[in-house]
Amino acid sequence: MTRTESQWDAKPQLPDDHYVSSSIYTDPEIFKEERTKIFSKTWKFVCHESELPEKGDFRAVDHTGWPLLVVRGPDSKIRTFFNSCSHRGSLLVTEPRGNARNFTCFFHLWSYNTKGDCISITRDQGYQDCELSKDKLGLREVRTEINLGMVFVNLDDEAEDFSTHIGDSFNDLNEPMGTKPMEVFHFHRVLMRANWKQWHETNMELYHEWGHVVNRTTSVAVPGYHERKWKIHPNGHGALEPLKVQYSNYKGWDQRADLTLAGLEPGEFRIVDIFPNTTIIVRATTIRIDTSIPIAPGLTLLEQRGLGVKGESDEDRTLRRFHHNQFWGPFGRNLSEDVIFVEAVEQANRYGASRYGIIARREELMSQDDEIMRAYYRTWGKYMNRRASHPLEK
């Protein structure tokens, strides 16, 4: 039975947290507030420690429009700063990675060491009248924590510490990521025409797996798929009980019985979602860290990293990379399909054709229960002081 205009526009007859308004994906004011109320207040994954193996190594990253500089100092400690000269704000570093003993701004040649201290100002006698000196002009340091090799930052000096924030959400990752040092061997980005939350939803609601032939054949059809339970953390994170995926059900694929990461059964799949927009997925032999950089309400830059064991043999790395590329990467059988799905939703959301998203599945916290999404949007609501179901009403 079709619906009239007023029926289509009417709020769903569901509890408040069982649906979201499409405005949360499209409204520019909401997007602007998300930057200040969520992204400047929460812990955010920026890179993996293996991207900074040596003292002086640095990575320039984008944290929702704030340019950051992550650097391993002379004491081997990883620190993060705003990638912005204290003088007139120029980007200090304009390459994505490198190694430096000091950073010298190319604009007026002010210099900083890799601990963020200002060490040199050109013609500093010009500042004597106003008593401005190097010791007062260090870089803006950003709180940095490393857990299982993943580097997280928080722009808010008053936010709760990382351990409290994450709680036990990383438990399922401790063995596969913490037993041997890991390293990133794959990196790629996708400029996606959709909202950052719509992408993160693909890592929470698993019933879209019906849309992927690889997931239908290797996972959804497998015994135990629907019986896994979500564990949901009050801070909006979640982890799903493992599943033994039958990779060999997809034509030409092996079962991933060799090179299984520590603590896993052959073929084992694990997923951990971290609020607001990072997911770590383990597929038996390889790991993907999925995060995003929101650019505009309907534009997001996805960042995808593939991980293997640091220092492993070329032969092992070839197989692990092969497994990674089967699912992920730009030629993987699965990842691009998620982008296509989400961009199709954005096209209907963009000018309000689609008014609401239903997140009303209740399956006793089993794998396709929407409680993981409802918990996520309740957390979103706390940060934003809005309800995801009618966000334009405060």
Binding site: F185, H188, V190, V213, R321, F322, E337, V339, I340
Partner: protein, 149 residues
């Protein structure tokens, strides 16, 4: 024997454009290897994004119509730069590549740029691809792509 080798490169481009994947594989040797390479300035490392032998390519092609794919079609603009003999009956061919995508609305855009480094075996007048290395300059491939470049 430059002309037949160039012709092989152009024919494979036409076959891939037409998504005649059996036709493409018929131009490949039994020990064919296909690899897509890219370089990450973020990692400072080379990456491999796809790697298959002949059977792997065959199996991948068989599953294509079950996948959710980018709509529209692709056109490969290829220009053979150099052909060098690297052994008895074996040549290496360096070809420039531009992959153009045209969406269902008829809007065309450059999807990827790079080059092919191919190894061709020539036996008794028959030329076949023994190896294709796609070296991509482009690293943002929109959602991604299910078919070979």
């Amino acid at each position: 024997m430059p002309e037949p080798l160039s012709r092989l490169i152009y024919e494979t481009a036409l076959l891939l454009d037409a998504e005649d994947f059996p036709g493409f594989l018929n131009r490949c040797a039994e020990d064919f290897r296909y690899v897509i390479h890219a370089h990450s300035p973020e990692l400072g490392k080379k990456m491999i994004w796809l790697e298959h032998d002949r059977k792997g390519m065959h199996d991948m092609f068989l599953m294509l119509n079950q996948h959710v794919r980018v709509k529209g079609h692709f056109k490969r603009h290829v220009s053979v730069y150099t052909i060098d003999s690297v052994g008895p009956n074996v040549s290496r061919v360096h070809t420039s590549l531009m992959l153009i995508h045209t969406n269902p609305d008829g809007v065309s855009s450059l999807f990827a740029a790079g080059h092919y480094i191919d190894v061709i075996r020539s036996e008794e007048g028959v030329h076949s691809l023994r190896e294709r290395n796609v070296v991509l300059d482009t690293r943002d491939l929109s959602p991604g792509i299910h078919i070979p470049i």
